[in-house]
Symmetry: C2
């Protein structure tokens, strides 16, 4: 009898509620502050951007939140997603580890992003909204929201970071196929974009700038809302379906992870897999380490400062309490575009402070090397974002080998790399480099931030 490679949760066993970590956080979240008054924002302040259902989820302290039937029905197009035991990768690493991975690449757009795109489109449609705006970096989020808007009959404007717009035409075509309009950012459609272009007509753009543009467009129009693919509390909550499935699947496998690893950009990828395991730790007393794997070229968790900062470059969003490199931080060009964000989500940032979450920063050459090893062993070509988690897995395996003790590892293979193969080609051709900051480079933007006190 040969071994089973996949742990498959039946469609009938799909989780019917999201998990809200705010119910269980030892230290409650600090409130977001109004960008002008610096006073805590209330639900009404967010109403120009988000429908009330999502605003209520943002501040909810209910532990379990029902997933609407209409959302579940769409989830079932690809959920539950498979969990794999990485037998061949284990053999390649030759270490005393059992490696499991949750694979989110089977979704329509090829990553975990539709898990929140679908409910966000649904709640906006329900609120009578006609159009959404959003930003996208590598294109994962824009694609996911394009599909979700297509399904619910919403229009969508996607502001795509210009460097990605130029380097990833396929992602743009994918969004167009699902009916979205894609605009290279910075653009001349917005005040924010025009200001950036005036200062630097050749600007490659950044996630922060694209967010400013998308927010401005949503604020300008009555029937238009804005949608964000990570960072916010409700986004992280939607992603917990990944981890809730994984908890059940680990149970089916008769195992429990010593360490749970996921890539870290804004935080939703990591939170999606990790928070349901943190629930197991906080509520059920399980022992597990949660490890966020971030790029050394944008090291907000490991090198950033915990403080209030804006979510966007221009400063239109509320101020959020988070580990940040400063909202003007411009990461060096890097192919793991989805991780190029200056700050970490408030939830994960607070959990870091409380020592419930750990992080490490990894250089891209180590990541691509890990990605190619994984592709050769396990056959799936990982997205550059996902290679960060794989590199962390290899480090864990080496530790376990030195320790001589078995370690059970679970990681989030958050997406495939089908639209990122140019990055692999550049890696093979020796064109990619690691990136080392001087302290001055790293902290220049932080120094310019206005000081807003944080309770100790």
């Amino acid at each position: 009898m040969s071994k089973l490679r996949k742990i498959i949760l039946p469609e009938s066993e799909i989780p019917r509620q999201w998990y809200n970590i705010q119910a269980d956080m030892p230290t409650p979240l600090l409130p977001p502050l109004h960008p002008a008054t610096k006073q805590p924002v209330g639900p009404a302040d967010l109403a120009p951007l988000f429908p009330m259902d999502l605003i209520m989820q943002e501040v909810s302290k209910e532990r379990w939140v029902d997933i609407p039937e209409e959302v579940l029905d769409i989830y079932k197009k690809w959920r539950p997603t498979p969990m794999f035991r990485a037998y061949d990768f284990e053999k390649m690493l030759d270490a005393p580890v059992k490696i499991y991975y949750k694979y989110e690449g089977t979704s329509p757009s090829g990553s975990h992003k539709p898990n929140t795109a679908v409910p966000q489109a649904y709640y906006n449609k329900k609120a009578g909204i006609k159009r959404l705006t959003t930003e996208t970096g590598a294109g994962q989020w824009g694609s996911a929201l394009s599909y979700a808007c297509q399904h619910f009959g919403l229009e969508l404007e996607v502001y795509m970071v210009k460097i990605s717009y130029l380097q990833k035409p396929y992602r743009k075509i994918m969004m167009n196929t699902w009916g979205a309009e894609v605009i290279a950012s910075p653009s001349d459609r917005t005040e924010a974009g025009r200001k950036i272009l005036a200062a630097d007509p050749n600007s490659n753009g950044s996630l922060g700038i694209a967010i400013s543009e998308a927010v401005e467009r949503a604020v300008m129009r009555e029937d238009t809302n804005y949608s964000l693919g990570s960072v916010l509390n409700h986004v992280l909550m939607h992603q917990t379906i990944v981890g809730l499935e994984a908890v059940k699947q680990m149970e089916m496998a008769g195992d429990f992870p010593d360490v749970v690893i996921a890539p870290f950009g804004g935080g939703s990828n990591f939170a999606g897999l990790a928070l349901p395991f943190l629930h197991q730790k906080l509520v059920n007393g399980k022992k597990v380490k949660l490890l966020a794997s971030e790029p050394a070229s944008c090291p907000k968790l490991t090198k950033g400062e915990f403080r209030y900062d804006f979510g966007d470059t221009v400063g239109m969003t509320p101020l959020m309490p988070m580990f940040t490199l400063g909202h003007n931080f411009m990461p060096p060009a890097l192919h793991a575009g989805g991780l190029r964000y200056h700050g970490g989500s408030p939830i994960i940032s607070q959990l870091m402070r409380d020592d419930l979450v750990h992080a490490e920063a990894i250089q891209q050459l180590e990541c691509f090397k890990a990605g190619v090893m994984f592709a050769k062993a396990e056959a799936i070509l990982p997205a550059p974002e996902a290679t960060h988690a794989i590199a962390s897995v290899i480090r864990q395996a080496e530790e376990a080998k030195q320790e001589g003790k078995e370690r059970v590892i679970l990681f989030n293979l958050c997406g495939h790399g089908h639209f990122d193969l140019q990055a692999y080609e550049d890696y093979f051709a020796g064109k990619l480099q690691d990136h080392y900051f001087t302290d001055e480079q790293l902290y220049a933007n932080l120094k310019e931030l206005e000081d807003i006190a944080i309770p100790a």
Copy 2:
């Protein structure tokens, strides 16, 4: 209770034998003939190209052939593949149809091709072979074999049709990531390639030319074999795992298809899904129509002639009895690269003659229109090859509507279109055209063929 979208066969229920239609064909296959002597070839004649295990499968009349444990173990990385009920597409078509599709896009290379790549690599490795050669058009087959060779530790040379090599760099990078060498064909590595280049230095290549090159390289070297991704009997047999799973899944769904549809290039895609249903018809008396959907720009089944012809352009392969447009037929540039082959597999050709298989030819604008509709409804972006089947499904739905009678349709969504998005962009931009042949264009190559009698 909401409806189930997926019909999932547990990994433990994976079929453990392939189905060999040669056991049940009403008319036995005509033998392949030696290219020089025009006499039937025996196993020994094929030994310079293939390992004996595959040669024996090629001529076997056993109904069920065991799948080696080593192959099953790799299949389980993505098999059993899901079957979906296309609720949203049904709704869009507004016709009395139930539409099911088997989705092969979850494999490592994104199509059904690894189903035969893995056993072919396995049997060659077992025979002590060090290196394989092959051709690839759109890149689906080359990618699949690259992964399989990587797994079993074989080297691989892929001759990639030059136009695809230039238009699809991502496919090339994918093959490189799995360790294969990719050469644009025609190349100067072979006699065959040099001859073509001498006549036309700007040749875009074709599958037929690439096959000639790969075969020549394999014949030249002792430790090297050749591997073909379609057409041959053993290839079709390996693909029956698709249909064997589908038969079980239809049973799980409590349904049986009135019509089974798949795209047709060389025949393995179609055979994989259809032949196990033909088995249900021949052996169990079930009623089902099998419909091959081929491109109007390469219409061998609907417009070709049943006769002996070569599998390659130069005439190095055995002569095979098949529906063909002539081995020098050069299809117009078309994005569904995987279907650009001049002939149909001997098995499917013989079944066509015996009226057990039907075919229709579809123009590409109808196919892309169908593909975009499907993507909007079902979320999966289909490969251009797969859009042919989808177009046929829409035709079936229209027929059912006119007839006012329910029809159950099953089709093979043989792969995703992640590497084919340029074709969608060209379609949106109005750059694609339908193609109509004059009889002279269509039959010019057939007239030049040497006449070899076929028994009536």
